[in-house]
Symmetry: C2
Subunit: 130 residues, 2 copies
């Protein structure tokens, strides 16, 4: 497997006299190494950065489990709208679904508790500033 290390080779375009070429290379390498974690992280954050989905996660944290119909009531939203959000959360392993008769109960998975913890903390303690 051959990796092309563009951050080492590529010509610099920043033509400032004072430009620190070593700094630029260092930053390129830093980003190159973090690339995958950046993708994984932003993928998850873009899920959480939606008010409806954050609210869903927040109430699920407190309530153990809720069905689509409950959430539709709680959020004052259409059932399909809620369902579509839940699907995204399920696809990314934020929640799990358990069928009981014709009702499907959703609950928080443990997978992302660490990522979510600071957000739940903020929401629970309602500080003046974030």
């Amino acid at each position: 497997m051959i990796y092309y290390l563009w951050f080492m080779e590529e010509e610099n375009n920043c033509i400032r006299k004072e430009a620190d070429l070593n700094q630029i290379k260092r930053c390129r390498q830093q980003i190159f190494e973090a690339e995958e974690v950046v993708s994984t992280l932003t993928d998850k954050l873009s899920l959480v950065s939606n008010t409806t989905r954050l609210k869903i996660l927040y109430v699920l944290q407190a309530e153990e489990r809720l069905c689509v119909c409950d959430l539709s009531d709680i959020l004052n939203m259409t059932i399909p709208a809620v369902s579509q959000h839940l699907r995204k959360l399920k696809d990314r392993d934020f929640v799990k679904a358990e069928k009981e008769g014709q009702t499907i109960f959703y609950s928080l998975r443990d997978d992302h508790r660490e990522l979510l913890a600071p957000f739940f903390n903020l929401l629970n303690h309602q500080p003046e500033t974030i």
Copy 2:
């Protein structure tokens, strides 16, 4: 100032026999109280959940300051593209700009260090799983 407490009054639409009306009211109130924090938080997270902007924040954390031209080189992106991201980050107080001649240096502000800390930790330690 009169607040209409819809979460107390409003009719329930979830018609399941087993629906726990108290649970639904409790959740509504919980969300009602967190509403503002939810907005503020998702507003910030939606900034961070973009790979380019997270990378900018990440390298700025390590490098103290970088100019638009540097970042354009580092990220292998057009100058206007970077500039537009920086504007968003500046508008939300994630970064500050300092002019020095015709060069504008951007650096991290302290305002959101607490929010960003866990993300920087992940990026620095490159764990197998997030």
